[in-house]
């Protein structure tokens, strides 16, 4: 096991985290607007951002599988390590399933996705309004799960840093200066 994350892993972690945060804010904001050209623009930007996150998540998964993460400290109980690991796996699943459900919903609603307004993605489903409504619920619920898990994930990281005072959070934030010291 390596001592810290690679720079690539750290960059992907933060870029995807920021991207998902913006996608969530955009998602909630845009759905409450009444129809306007601005709303159509936001919907497209949301989809493009989501597809970008999907691509980055693919890269990240490949990177993760080829570059092992640093081991969790031995001060942690086994069950704590297992929960941390399970949350990480679930977060990976959501990085893929959220954009995928969005793409499926868009297809089912009869709106093909044209990435960046340039690259038409294939329609995964034929137009079907009931299915689109159901997938909208799925997209929403997956996002709710994401928010809950991110809460847990961030809470745990902060506990490591401020309560346990180990280097777990600093491994993802090397400029905190506790990266390799412990």
């Amino acid at each position: 096991m390596s001592q810290s994350y690679t720079r690539t892993a750290i960059a992907l972690h933060w870029v995807i985290a920021l991207g998902m945060l913006i996608a969530i804010a955009l998602g909630f904001y845009m759905t409450n607007l009444s129809l306007s050209p601005f709303k159509l623009k936001l919907f497209s930007w949301h989809k493009w951002l989501g597809v970008t996150i999907f691509l980055l998540a693919s890269l990240r998964l490949v990177w993760r599988l080829t570059h092992p993460a640093p081991a969790l400290p031995d001060t942690m109980d086994n069950w704590e390590k297992q929960i941390a690991h399970a949350v990480h796996v679930a977060l990976y699943v959501l990085m893929f399933s959220i954009p995928l459900s969005g793409w499926l919903m868009s297809s089912a609603a009869g709106f093909p996705v044209v990435f960046l307004g340039l690259i038409p993605l294939p329609d995964l489903l034929a137009k079907n309004k009931e299915l689109a409504a159901m997938l909208k619920q799925v997209h929403f619920l997956l996002n709710m799960s994401l928010l809950a898990l991110v809460g847990l994930h961030v809470g745990a990281a902060l506990k490591h840093h401020f309560v346990l005072k180990d280097n777990v959070m600093a491994q993802m934030l090397p400029w905190l200066g506790r990266g390799k010291s412990k």
């Binding site: 306007s36 050209p37 497209s44 009869g110 709106f111 093909p112």
Partner: protein, 186 residues
Amino acid sequence: MKIWQQSLLACSLIGVSLSTQAVTFNKVLLEQSQLSFVSKQMNVPVEGKFKEFSAKLNFDPAKVEAASAELNIVLSSIDAGSNEANDEVKSKGWFNVQAFPTAKFVAKSVKSLGSDRFEVAGEMSIKGKTNPVTAPFTLKITGKTGVLEGSFPLKRLQFNIGEGAWSDTDTVADEVQIRFKLVVSE
């Protein structure tokens, strides 16, 4: 002339006379006919259709000069792809269906482009504005019915369809592709 050449000539003459046999299509089978369109929103092709329209037609493919056609489209029957869009496009800035409930197309001339291909030129009236449009179409005949199918680009802003903020063509393109499929019979 050799015998085989003669028979070939005879065959082709029969063929010509068969294909030019007078069929005048003057009924439109609305149940089987379709009027749809594809608009581009943020470069995304979105399909829609008009569920209700009526059509008058008199078309003999061998005598295109005498052709006449008129199409009346009930604008409130629009399906623009989503409920939200349906409400929007009926409003004042779009079709203003309260004040202008129907759109009308009147054919002015039809010309033959060879074999089963034709082109119609006519006038489109929407929302109080009339503009010329031309559309190529094909006519496929089986027995006594024919399928007349074509498409043409319509510039929505020529008819003030989508005013104000919606006149921004970066979001909704000016050109809307109109597709028609009319099943016609004698």
